[in-house]
Amino acid sequence: MERRRFLKTIGVGSAVVTAVPVFGYSLTSLNGIAVSLILNECHFLKIERSEAEKFVDDFYISYFKNAAQTAVLSYKLRLKSYYFLKFDSSDSELVKELVHNFLFSTDFFVNRMDESKPVKYTGLHNPFTTPCYNPFSFLYYPPEKLT
């Protein structure tokens, strides 16, 4: 009897331990996870959650515009896994791509990487519609000002 209760407890416990993350995994939205990843990576910057949310909404509309369903599903699975496994941009190209895209879609680099200023989303960055946006280039740092 004791043994049977023990096994039952272990069984229920295992089920709970397994089910809760899987449940959370499937219920947590991709956009919510993406926002959390961005805010976590850039925790030392002044970013309102709503700024990251606006970016993520626009980013995924564009990102998945012509993507196959399998590619979308694969992306979602990978990003969610990285989130639950606590990967950051040094562990994952996908997370790095997301964070970089966010920063390039804000006024952060235009403000010369001033970490004391609030970071505002300024619209999704696309180098083909907004060329010459290399915030480290001679246009932003002319040689005469660097010497």
Partner: protein
């Protein structure tokens, strides 16, 4: 087709074909007839840009890449008018004189049948036609200044340039440093495949008058798949257009389709040269990300700002390959760390490789339109160079406040397909002679980087373009 027979028939409209035709036309009589068969369509820069910006383009389907069996490497190229000038990043360093003499100097592979000195005036001519931007001091011999001033180095590049002089230079490039010839100046957008400001040289924006010449007729959507050979002479080409088999006749033929499709056409035609298709190769590359202590890397005026030659030439090439460094000024290289955003420099480390039998192009039985490629890997000569580079790089960068160096996974491809119709002094060592004429079929030129005898780490387009000018100048 306007005529039953042409004086010259060229397959392909990329740089190899275009510079060949350019020189031919400059020497030919006013009445010559030139037919150019282009497999793809005319897919304009404006349309490419539209698609990149997220709009739809009706050329999308026509621009897709054709099938290659076993394409493990993901070879990069573009089908359509202008060929790979549409997707190249316009890096145009010359080869070093030693690159042409690997056997004599280092006992490795073979010497080219052509020397740097013979090619020098044709390098200069291509640099003029492409309006190359570059510095006065270079590691390769060169007379006079480049057509355009050099691009501006970054703060970190300047430190390396100060230490190494002409071994660390502003990269010679077809990304214009000033507005020129209908092109704008490069502004370091970092997406050169389709330049958003039309700054890089392409065949479309070249303004060199080849395809506007009334002697030239271009047919689009025409895939050449074989040649009709008789008595060591090419009589006709066989091609498919809109699903129909067609033929065209000429006195002289030139294949400029690229280093996978050129040998495939030869193999389909029954060419029995043992080197045709063999030695399929390219360079090998990986990224070295160098984290710097309190030293921001800022102010460059183009995508690749510099080339480093510190690990390129020397007696080490008896044992291991040359390595060319490319300093990347792409905006993607940032550190998401407080106060350290741009405290890094990222180098693409590019290694030469050797032609190897195990890597080749072959015909595909019962499918004349699809080549098969087999690429089993790089040489141990190149592998040793990668190991050596990792030992030497900290010393090379000792003038910088290096925190750490991180090596990323090697790239699948360097986008340069080489060596499948190699150039040699005679038929026992290769497919074409120094004028790019097939050793057996003397009215057939086989153009492009397939002709390279060895695989320098330097980017190939400038050299293959100079070879086309040289070939046409000496053969006609």
């Amino acid at each position: 087709m306007k005529y039953d027979k042409y004086d010259l028939l060229v397959a392909g409209t990329g740089p190899a074909s275009t510079f060949f035709i350019k020189k031919y036309l400059s020497k030919a009589r006013a009445s010559v007839k030139v037919l150019v068969l282009e497999r793809g369509d005319f897919y304009s820069h404006a349309d490419r840009l539209k698609k990149r910006a997220g709009d739809t383009s009706h050329y999308k389907k026509a621009a897709s890449k054709p099938r290659i069996n076993n394409e493990e490497r993901g070879w990069a190229y573009t089908i359509g008018f202008g060929g790979s000038s549409n997707c190249w990043y316009a890096c145009t360093p010359r080869f070093l004189p030693s690159d042409f003499r690997m056997k004599t100097l280092y006992g490795v592979a073979n010497d080219w049948p052509i020397s740097y000195e013979e090619l020098d005036p044709y390098y200069t001519e291509v640099e003029e036609l492409m309006s190359i931007s570059g510095p006065d001091e270079t590691p390769f011999p060169r007379q006079g200044s480049y057509p355009l001033p050099p691009h501006i180095l970054t703060t970190v590049d300047k430190v390396l340039n100060k230490k190494y002089g002409k071994l660390y230079i502003s990269q010679p490039t077809g990304r214009a440093s000033r507005p020129v010839n209908g092109r704008n100046a490069c502004c370091a957008s970092g997406v050169c495949g389709t330049c958003p400001v039309n700054a890089k040289f392409t065949i479309e924006n070249s303004n060199i008058g080849v395809y506007e010449d009334p002697r030239v007729e271009v047919i689009y959507g025409a895939q050449v798949y074989s040649l009709e050979l008789a008595n060591n002479v090419v009589r006709k080409v066989n091609f498919i257009q809109e699903g129909k088999e067609r033929q065209a006749e000429a006195e002289v033929f030139a294949l400029g389709t690229h280093a996978i499709f050129n040998p495939h056409i030869l193999l389909n035609s029954g060419d029995s040269n043992p080197f045709t298709g063999k030695g399929l190769g390219e360079q090998y590359g990986l990224q070295a990300v160098v984290y710097l202590d309190n030293m921001p890397n800022l102010g460059g005026s183009t995508w690749v700002t510099a080339n480093g030659y510190m690990l390129y030439d020397g007696v080490h090439r008896k044992d291991h390959a040359a390595c060319l460094m490319e300093s990347s000024n792409s905006p993607e290289w940032i550190r998401v760390e407080s106060g350290k955003w741009r405290n890094l420099i990222s180098f693409r480390m590019i290694f030469e490789d050797l032609p190897m039998e195990q890597n080749f192009v072959s015909a595909t039985p019962e499918d004349l339109l699809t080549p098969t490629t087999v690429f089993k890997g790089i040489s141990s000569y190149t592998e040793r160079a990668v190991d050596n580079m990792k030992i030497k790089l900290p010393e090379v960068l000792s003038c910088l406040p290096v925190e750490k160096i991180e090596y990323l996974k090697p790239f699948g491809s360097e986008s340069h397909i080489l060596g499948t119709t190699r150039m040699s002094a005679d038929a026992k060592d290769g497919v074409v002679d120094k004028n790019l004429i097939h050793h057996q079929y003397r009215n057939l030129f086989v153009l492009g980087s397939g002709s390279f005898t060895t695989y320098s780490p330097a980017n190939p387009t400038l050299t293959l373009s100079a070879l086309s000018l040289y070939a046409a100048d000496h053969a006609f």
